[in-house]
């Protein structure tokens, strides 16, 4: 299984590089004529490349973390907009609802930092299992506090 995947990734890599070379070539050759359309094309290419690269190289649990963090940003944003639009009464409810989301975001970000392969060197003594246990413990404390505070 692993060789297959490795093969697939290695096979995909040249495609990506060729794609970038082909797309950038015309932009370089004719910068003055259709600069706006070509640049936007270039930007969308960059975006799709980043997306593809992300999808290829990111482990599945990191993707899960990112998905959860995006969800938290949406939930926190909605709560903040509601506070701005409808007023902050009762304020303790706003504080605990919003800080639950923000706190969860921060904890999840820490988990992401500690479990990323690239940061392995920074946390030699923290295994991913240990990081996850810490994360669960911290989250439970956060939820306990927030549910208490919202009364």
């Amino acid at each position: 299984m692993a060789p297959k995947k490795a093969q697939a990734s290695s096979a995909a890599a040249p495609v990506v590089t060729t794609g970038t070379t082909t797309s950038t070539a015309p932009a370089v050759s004719a910068p003055s004529k259709k600069s706006s359309s070509s640049s936007s094309e270039a930007w969308s290419n960059v975006a799709t490349n980043i997306l593809k690269h992300y999808q290829k190289t990111t482990p599945q649990r990191t993707k899960l973390i990112d998905l959860f963090m995006a969800f938290l940003v949406v939930v926190g944003g909605l709560q903040f907009v509601y506070c701005v639009v409808a007023g902050n009464y009762p304020f303790n409810a706003f504080l605990s609802g919003f800080s639950a989301t923000v706190g969860q975001f921060v904890l999840t970000a820490s988990l992401r930092i500690q479990t990323t392969e690239a940061n392995k060197a920074d946390f030699p003594s923290v295994s991913p299992e240990r990081a996850f246990a810490d994360y669960v413990f911290g989250s439970l404390i956060l939820h306990f506090f927030c549910v208490n505070f919202i009364n």
Partner: protein, 463 residues
């Protein structure tokens, strides 16, 4: 037998109460005790209303307003005397002490006799001023009695006074005014200061003036004391302790001669009877606390919230509590306590105050019986904790003062008295925000644990 005696005792106390609300001992001061025949109808009316009348002359040695520091009499009635002073037993100081001890004084003066110096001094303490040299005669060349004073014009004929202003009860007019007139023969006018305790009952008409009859000048000029509405002919003072003093400018209007006299106004057609007797009854009745006396029967306040104890007059409330305050008031009417009715255009007000009032609201009559009216109001306590007073400060002309203060503590919310956030609909989005975060987190943990072996295997294998 015992029941019969107790019944008789009850009857006796009931009869004994059928008089003034503040005692029945009345002292009448006359120049000569024989003079009382002149006022027999007025004094007979007073005795008929239950007063125990004692007659004294100012010179009498047995006359003492106080005995062992207590008042010997509840009320004093002064008729004019010839003497310049009233002797050591009736000094101005003693008269003021008598008022301070909640005694009432009715003072009848006359334009023909000089007012005694001690009375002039006592009156000037109260900001009531008499003409200089203590004599003055009020004349009116338009409102005089043709039959008796065709030449001197010193018998004034005035309509009954009516209410002082809107919102003040009219105590001194007959129940059904029918164009009757009051006759004021040989009256002395008073000029009033700005004191808030002074209230005139009867003012002179605009065409009247006061002059000194002893001045023998042909032209009136500098010696004119006062004129028109400046002159008060019947004046009342109600002290802060609700003691009452009335100055009647014309003693003759209380005499038998003028009680039933037929008078004819200048330019008038027929002779009409005076209402002096009715007016004298009302003025003396007011002065001697028979009318216009208010009494607080009880005061009650309680929480007005569901599911809470309904204890009466608690010592402590919480901020923003709904509270009901009630006060029961009676008004004395000649011989019995009756329901007090606030005059139209007037209000009975309650203050809820800590140093300054936080609320001032008018009380509405809720329960009315024959003997009392209950006034009450519901309100929400202010959002401020501290020591507060329920305060009634009712001071109106011709009614005695009511000043009632009930102190309560107002505490802040206890920590478990705040509403739960789910009780406040505005908090629901934030509650669901926490809910979304927690459920999202649970899903995240579940998927993480489920997907972990693959990730681990992958990481091991990539390594």
């Amino acid at each position: 037998m015992t029941s019969l005696t107790s019944f008789l005792l009850l009857l006796f106390t009931a009869v004994a109460q059928a008089i003034s609300s503040s005692g029945s001992r009345l002292l009448v001061v006359l120049e000569d005790v024989a003079e009382k025949a002149q006022y027999s109808k007025f004094l007979g009316d007073l005795e008929g209303r239950g007063f125990e009348v004692t007659y004294e002359t100012p010179k009498s040695d047995s006359l003492n307003l106080f005995h062992l520091g207590e008042r010997s009499y509840d009320h004093i009635l002064f008729f004019p005397t010839k003497a310049k002073g009233l002797g050591p037993n009736l000094t101005a100081n003693l008269l003021l002490q008598f008022i301070n001890a909640e005694g009432n004084i009715l003072l009848a003066l006359s334009g023909q006799k000089q007012a005694p110096s001690s009375i002039v001094a006592a009156l000037s303490e109260l900001d009531i001023h008499l003409p200089s040299e203590r004599t003055g005669l009020v004349v009116d060349h338009f409102n005089y009695d043709v039959t008796s004073a065709d030449e001197k014009h010193d018998v004034l004929l005035l309509p009954t006074p009516g209410a002082l202003r809107s919102g003040v009860k009219d105590f001194f007019s007959p129940a059904t005014p029918n164009g009757e007139v009051l006759a004021l023969p040989q009256a002395i006018g008073q000029v009033l200061g700005n004191g808030a305790l002074l209230t005139p009952i009867l003012r002179a008409p605009t065409t009247a003036y006061s002059y000194n009859p002893k001045e023998e000048s042909e032209v009136l000029g500098d010696e004119l004391f006062a004129a028109g509405k400046q002159l008060s002919l019947v004046t009342t003072v109600q002290a802060r302790n609700s003691a009452r003093l009335t100055v009647v400018g014309s003693a003759d209007m209380l005499s038998d001669q003028w009680f039933d006299a037929k008078v004819k106004k200048a330019g008038g057609k027929a002779a009409v009877a005076t209402v002096n007797r009715e007016f004298a009854k009302r003025v003396s009745g007011w002065t001697f606390n028979e009318i216009g006396v208010l009494k607080v029967n009880w005061i009650e306040h309680h929480l007005n919230e569901e599911g809470q104890g309904n204890q009466s007059n608690p010592k402590i409330y919480r901020i923003k509590n709904d509270v009901t305050y009630s006060i029961s008031l009676s008004e004395y009417e000649w011989d019995h306590w009756a329901a007090f009715k606030v005059p139209a255009d007037d209000d009975l007000q309650l203050e809820f105050s800590m140093l300054s009032p936080f609320h001032r609201m008018s009380l509405k009559p809720t329960v009315s019986s024959e003997e009392s009216t209950t006034y009450s109001t519901n309100f929400k306590l202010p959002d401020q904790h501290g020591i507060f007073n329920f305060k009634i400060n009712h001071k109106r002309p011709f009614f005695n003062n009511i000043e009632e203060k009930n102190t309560v503590s107002v505490r802040h919310f206890a920590h478990d008295e705040w509403p739960r956030s789910y009780a406040i609909s505005g908090a629901w989005p934030w509650i669901s925000g926490i809910g979304a975060t927690v459920t999202g987190w649970l899903f995240f943990v579940a998927i993480w644990l489920y997907s972990k072996p693959t990730g681990k295997g992958e990481s091991k294998k990539t390594r």
